[in-house]
Structure formats: C-alpha cells, structure tokens
C-alpha cells in the first residue's frame, strides 16, 4: 500500500465516472457519476495529505469543502431535475432540448 496505489485507485474511479457521464441517458445517472468523480478526487486529496504532508491537515480541510459544495450542487441539481420532470415528463437528456419549455 503505497501512495501510488491510492492515486491509481483514484484515477480508475475517476475514469469510471467519466464513462458514466458520457454514456448515461438518464440525467440522474449522470448526477450520480459526477458524485463518483468528486469522491475519486477526495481520495487523491486525502492520500496526498496522508503521505506527503503527514503533519498538516490542509488536504482534509479541502475535502470538507468539496463535500459541502457537492451537497449544495446535489440539492440544486435534483430540484432542477424535478422541475424539468414536471414540464416534460421525462428524465432522458435527449428530450431536454428547450431552453423555455
């Protein structure tokens, strides 16, 4: 278990999230893949903090901010999804082609 293993795991999970964002039709699936990518970045931040700067906590503080912003993003994003769903009765991205529905 070296730093390289943690960063490699983070890269693998990040690329899985990218695959989900690019291929999912369902907007909720895209949001979940974005959460996966946030978590990959968090693993990298905590691993760098643990291995390269064991005495300081700046990486962990940064992860706290990432979690808070992800919470705000999820709340606004999900309420937007519900508002769109009320208008067009669909959660698939190819149907969301109107700016003013």
């Amino acid at each position: 278990m070296t730093l390289y293993h943690c960063i490699a795991l983070s890269g693998i999970v990040f690329s899985i999230g990218i695959y989900g964002v690019l291929t999912r039709r369902n907007i909720l699936g895209i949001l979940m893949s974005i959460e996966l990518m946030f978590n990959a970045a968090n693993i990298a931040l905590v691993a760098f903090n643990h291995y390269l700067h064991p005495g300081s906590l700046w990486g962990q503080g940064f992860v706290l901010f990432v979690i808070a912003v992800a919470a705000a993003e999820a709340v606004v994003g999900l309420s937007l999804v519900l508002a769109i769903y009320r208008n067009i009765k669909s959660v698939y991205t190819e149907n969301m082609n109107l700016l003013h529905g």
């Binding site: 070296t2 960063i7 490699a8 890269g11 039709r25 909720l28 699936g29 968090n42 503080g61």
Partner: protein
C-alpha cells in the same frame, strides 16, 4: 494496524470500490445504481479512515450517504416510470465514451508512477477532529464562511426551483 493488515484492507476496499463504481455506471435500473453508489461512498469513507482521516470518514457517511443519497433516492422514486426499466440506459456513443474514459484512466495511472516508492509515514495515526476544527476556524476561516453562503444560496435556489408555477 500492522502494514500488511492495512494493505490487505486497502486492496479489499479497492476491489469493492471498483466493482460498485462499475455498477453505478452500468446497471440498467437507476434505483439499483443509486444503491450501488451508497455502497461505493461507504467504502470511500472506509478508505478515508484507513488513510488517517477519521473525521472525514464520519462526515462522508453523514453528509453523502445520509443526506445526498437519500435525496437522490427520493428523486429517483418520484421521477421513474415503469416503462423506464424496458428502455436502454446508454446512448449510442458508448464505444467512444469507453475509449475516452480508458484513455484518461490509463494516462492518470501512468502519470503518477513518480510516486511508486512513496511509503506510509512513520508514527501512529492520531485523531484529527480537534486540529481540523482549529484549522477551519483559523487559517481557513474565509472559505469556511464562503461555504456557508453557498449553502444558503443552494437552499434558496432549491426552494425557488421546487415551487409550482402558478401560470
């Protein structure tokens, strides 16, 4: 924890995390992929604890698993229709998407070979809650207050977008 035991736990967590992450992006039923995301985020909390970030592990379970994922499950249950289970959930570009994701993943993994020999630091892992709180209310005070503003804006935005239009 001895180094070999923590390595064993790390590899077990890594395998489970990759499997559940693949489940999140490939499962046909969105509800199942949300449950798979719950498992993945809980495993990430375990990885945080393994890497010496005990407070972050707790915050991850509280905020992500207990908060964000529950909202997500609610929205999925409110917006899914029975015929969604019969439709394919990927678009026509999945080969290009797979190629793109593989390219980024392989380059990320290759780019960090510089850190191959970086071993864990000596010394026991200490609790971080107290020093993290001092950091947040000391040197990180300005971003801390900015995050409270962001959360307030998100609250107001959710209320605005969520209310019915009386048109």
């Amino acid at each position: 924890m001895s180094p070999s035991l923590s390595s064993l736990v790390f590899y077990a967590f890594s395998a489970m995390l990759v499997v559940t992450a693949v489940g999140v992006v490939t499962l046909r039923n969105v509800f199942y992929s949300a449950v798979s995301l719950v498992a993945a985020l809980t495993i990430v909390a375990g990885l945080f604890v393994l890497l010496g970030a005990d407070f972050l592990g707790a915050a991850q379970v509280l905020v992500y698993v207990g908060g964000i994922l529950i909202i997500m499950l609610f929205v999925i249950m409110l917006s899914q229709q029975p015929r969604d289970l019969l439709q394919r959930q990927t678009n026509d570009q999945w080969i290009a998407g797979l190629f793109f994701a593989l390219t980024i993943g392989v380059s990320l993994v290759r780019a960090f070979t510089y850190f191959v020999s970086q071993t864990p630091p000596d010394g026991d892992i200490a609790p971080t809650s107290a020093s993290l709180g001092r950091l947040l209310l000391g040197e990180m005070l300005l971003p801390f207050e900015a995050v409270s503003l962001i959360l307030l804006a998100a609250l107001v935005g959710a209320v605005v977008f969520g209310q019915e239009k009386n048109a």
